[in-house]
C-alpha cells in the first residue's frame, strides 16, 4: 500500500466519523428538545386551584365578618326568650368570583385559559349548639394551549363549632361555668389556634380569636380577659371556665336560680367566624 492510499483511508475515516457525529448531534438536539421543553401547565393549575380556595376563604371571612354585625337582633330575641338559631344560604358572592375569574383570564392569556364555576353556596348556621360557616363552589378549568381540559377544583371551606357541654357549679356568691366545645375546619381538621392571648380578638397579629358573652337579665356581658380561662386538650377540643356573679333573678322558692345563655364567637386563623349558642341552667 502506498502513502497516498493510506491518507485517503484516514481522510475517509475522518469524514465518516465527523458526518456520523453530526447526525448524532442533530438527532440528540431534536430528542432533547422534545424531552426537556417544559410546559408549566401543572404549575398554572396548582396556582389556580390554590388561589380559588384562597379566594373562597377570603370571601367567607369577609361575609361572616359582615354577617356578625347583623346578629344583634338575634341576640335581642334571645334575651326576650324566643331564642332560635338561624341558618341562611346565599349565593351573592358571584360578583367577587366573577372579578377573580376575569383577573385570571387576563393573567394567563397565553395558556388559553377557560374558567367556569358552578354550585355556589355560602351558608351560615349560627347560634346553635352546632354552628358552622360554609362556602362551596366548583371551578372547571381548561388550558387549551396545553391541551388540558376538564380539571375541576372543588372548593369547600368550612368552620364548625360544636358545644359539647355546659356545666354550672355554685361557688360562694358566684357560679362557675365550664363550657367545653370543639372547633374543626373542613374535612374534620381540628383548629388549635385559640388561646387566652387571643380572647376578645385582641391580638392584632393573628386573625384567630374567640370571645364569650352571657346574658344577665336584659344585658349581654362579656367577661374581662383576666376572668376567663381556656384550655386546649387536643383534637380541636377546648374548655372555657369563668365565674358569673349570681344576679337578682330568684325562683318561686326564694332561692336564686340561673337560666342564662352563653354566646361563643370563634374566629380561626383564616378569619372565618362562627357564633354558637349554649344554654346554662342552675336551679
Amino acid at each position: 500500500m502506498n502513502g497516498k492510499a493510506q491518507f485517503i483511508i484516514v481522510a475517509a475515516l475522518l469524514i465518516g466519523i465527523m458526518v456520523t457525529s453530526l447526525a448524532v448531534s442533530i438527532y440528540l438536539t431534536a430528542t432533547q428538545y422534545q424531552e426537556f421543553r417544559y410546559q408549566a401547565s401543572k404549575e398554572i393549575i396548582i396556582n389556580i386551584d390554590k388561589d380559588f380556595k384562597r379566594a373562597l376563604t377570603r370571601i367567607l371571612a369577609l361575609a361572616t365578618h359582615n354577617y356578625n354585625k347583623s346578629i344583634s337582633s338575634s341576640l335581642e330575641e334571645i334575651l326576650k326568650g324566643s331564642a332560635t338559631g338561624k341558618c341562611e344560604e346565599t349565593a351573592d358572592f358571584n360578583e367577587k368570583l366573577s372579578y377573580w375569574c376575569q383577573t385570571l383570564l387576563q393573567s394567563y392569556l397565553d395558556a388559553g385559559l377557560q374558567l367556569s364555576y358552578r354550585r355556589n353556596l355560602l351558608k351560615y348556621c349560627w347560634l346553635y349548639n352546632e354552628s358552622s360557616s360554609t362556602i362551596y363552589s366548583e371551578l372547571e378549568v381548561n388550558l387549551t394551549s396545553y391541551g388540558l381540559y376538564g380539571f375541576v377544583s372543588e372548593g369547600r371551606i368550612q368552620l364548625n363549632v360544636t358545644i359539647d357541654s355546659v356545666s354550672a357549679e355554685r361557688k360562694g356568691g358566684n357560679i362557675n361555668i365550664t363550657l367545653t366545645f370543639h372547633v374543626e375546619r373542613e374535612y374534620g381538621e381540628p383548629i388549635s389556634s385559640l388561646s387566652k392571648d387571643n380572647y376578645n380578638f385582641t391580638d392584632q397579629d393573628t386573625l384567630a380569636g374567640w370571645a364569650i358573652s352571657y346574658n344577665k337579665t336584659t344585658n349581654w356581658i362579656r367577661p374581662e380577659p383576666e376572668e376567663v380561662n381556656i384550655t386546649y386538650s387536643a383534637g380541636g377540643k377546648y374548655a372555657i371556665t369563668f365565674e358569673v356573679p349570681i344576679g337578682e333573678d330568684k325562683g318561686k322558692s326564694g332561692q336564686q336560680k340561673l337560666n342564662f345563655y352563653l354566646v361563643l364567637w370563634v374566629r380561626d386563623e383564616r378569619g372565618i367566624l362562627v357564633v354558637a349558642l349554649a344554654n346554662a341552667r342552675k336551679e
Binding site: G3, Q6, V10, L13, L14, I17, M18, T20, S21, L22, V24, S25, L28, T29, Q32, Y33, F36, R37, Y38, A40, E43, I44, I46, N47, I48, K50, D51, R54, A55, R58, I59, A61, L62, H65, N66, K69, K96, Y99, W100, Q102, T103, L104, Q106, S107, Y108, L207, G271
Partner: protein, 169 residues
Amino acid sequence: MNNKALLRMIEAVLAAIVILLAFTVSYHYATPPNPFTIRAKGDLEKIAYDVLHRLAEERALDEILKKNPTLLGDEFAAALRTLLPKNIVYNLTIYKAEIITIMPHNVEGVKLEKLADATNIEDPDTIVRASEVGKAVLTYTYSQLKENPQLEEEFYTLVLHLTIARVER
C-alpha cells in the same frame, strides 16, 4: 532505520493524531456542550414558579400588604435575594387587578394596574442577552377585615409576573 521506515512511522503517528482529533471533535458534537443549557428553560420556569408559590404559601404577602403596601417592591427584592441563587437575575412586577367599566356597553371588566416592581437587573438588555430565561405568573387573592365599619372592605387579586435569567458572574 532507513528514511522510508521513518516516514512510515511519522505517517502512522500523524494518522493516530488525526483519528484522535476526529474522535475528540465528534465527542464534542455528540454530547451537549452543557446539559444544563438544554434543560435550563424548564428548570428556570420551575424555579420561578417554586419561588412564587413559596412566597404565597408562607403568607409573606399578607404580612407585607398588611404592614405597608408601598414597601412591597423592597420586601420582595429582599425575599428574592434570599431565595434565588446569585447567578440568577430577576425582574418581578406586581399588578393589582382593578375593576373598570368598559364603555360604551357599560360592562365591568378588569384592568391590571402596576403596583410595584423588584429587580436586580441594572442593564435592561441582560434578559435579552441571557441564553436561559424562565417566566412565571402567579395570582394571589387578598382581603383584610376592617373592624371599623366606616372603612370599606378590601378584596382584590394581585398578579405577580416573575422573569428570571441565568447569567455568568
